[in-house]
Symmetry: none
Subunit: 193 residues, 2 copies
DNA sequence: ACTTTAGGTAAATTATATTATATCGATTAT
DNA sequence: ATAATCGATATAATATAATTTACCTAAAGT
């Protein structure tokens, strides 16, 4: 069976992963030794991976990403593979149930794929924007009050100055469980083409 | 070294990958045999992975993703990740003159072009980070207190919930003109190479 | 009944990932 | 100069991923 082509592509991936790992390690000023103790992966294996001469197992990949507290996709350069489309921008300021007032701060359509909003969530109310298009990442910070956020089947309770990051393409809802207004700061990024 | 916890997490990842693979395969109505010939990975290995009883190598992961023509991150559920940043959990960094405390919220410098920080500016003090590299854009929001910001020769006075956007490559300084702490929310973007 | 297909299991083998240890050259610091 | 650190390299040993082959059960079709 001819798998030369595939093998070469897999080789390329290994090389790219190695370059990425080396770049991240050097950006943090770490030696192979230090990285080894952080990740519980031997220095030799790390060196081999960085030189693209390794075929690391999933557990090793996970250990490295975990030790560096980065997503695995950061190692695999998967960010660049994501296909994009731009959000269709309706200029809504009020949500359907009027529970939430959205206030655009900077519209980055002219500068890049970034939008910043401020949102005021009324007491004891819920705002469900639904899922956005693929490639949207939301960063939400609680500026005042409390926020209960539901992302698919999981709930997260955030207090003042807490932040959360998640993929906006997942079904989610913002809930103000308190009797006073909640103020949120939204940063939304859209993957580039 | 105690790595039981980490190992369990790695196990969880393997299980999740297995579930994802099985779901994708069944959604496409493929048998293990068919998937094996599509991916050039043995049926037994595929079965082991689906049952979470395997620790596949990067090349096998790549072969599967390639055979199914899906991004690797789709297999790894990387886009399902949710990160929460709590108010006081981050490692704070002090500026040279100790006027400003910087608290990273989400650091994407290694795999993207976005960083989010929270900053605490001491009463009646100034923080001058100098000019950053070219291509940096800063979005600053006042979460609490007041901020006087100097950008080259111009001054801007911001109050609670005000925001400002400017090019970080220009010389700038953050000034807290009040007697109480100022809390800022930073979003910094970097143009990609 | 019988046959086929799918998926799980087992044993044996091959291939290779991972580690430990040591050495080497280059750089950096004292 | 000398020592120390870093990354590359080599070797050997161990652990385990991956394949092959075979057999098993359950379900679905004929």
């Amino acid at each position: 069976m001819d798998n030369t082509h595939k093998w070469n592509d897999a080789e390329k991936l290994a090389k790219k992963v190695g370059e990425t790992l080396r770049r991240i390690r050097q950006e943090r000023g770490l030696s192979l030794q230090e990285l080894a103790s952080m990740t519980d992966v031997s220095k030799l294996t790390l060196g081999n991976i960085e030189r693209g001469e390794a075929n690391p197992s999933l557990s090793v990949i996970w250990k490295i990403a975990n030790g560096l507290t980065i997503p695995i996709s950061a190692l695999l350069n998967e960010n660049q593979e994501v296909l994009v489309s731009r959000k269709n921008k309706g200029n809504k300021v009020l949500s359907a149930n009027e529970a939430c007032t959205l206030e655009p701060i900077f519209d980055a359509s002219n500068y890049g794929s970034l939008e910043i909003h401020r949102a005021f969530l009324k007491p004891n109310s819920e705002y469900s924007p639904g899922a956005h298009q693929a490639g949207v990442i939301e960063y939400v910070t609680v500026m005042k009050g409390e926020l209960k956020i539901k992302i698919q089947d999981d709930y997260y309770h955030l207090y003042e100055y807490d932040s959360i990051k998640f993929n906006g393409s997942r079904e989610h809802a913002y809930i103000n469980p308190t009797g006073s207004e909640t103020v949120l700061h939204f940063v939304m990024t859209y993957s580039k083409s």
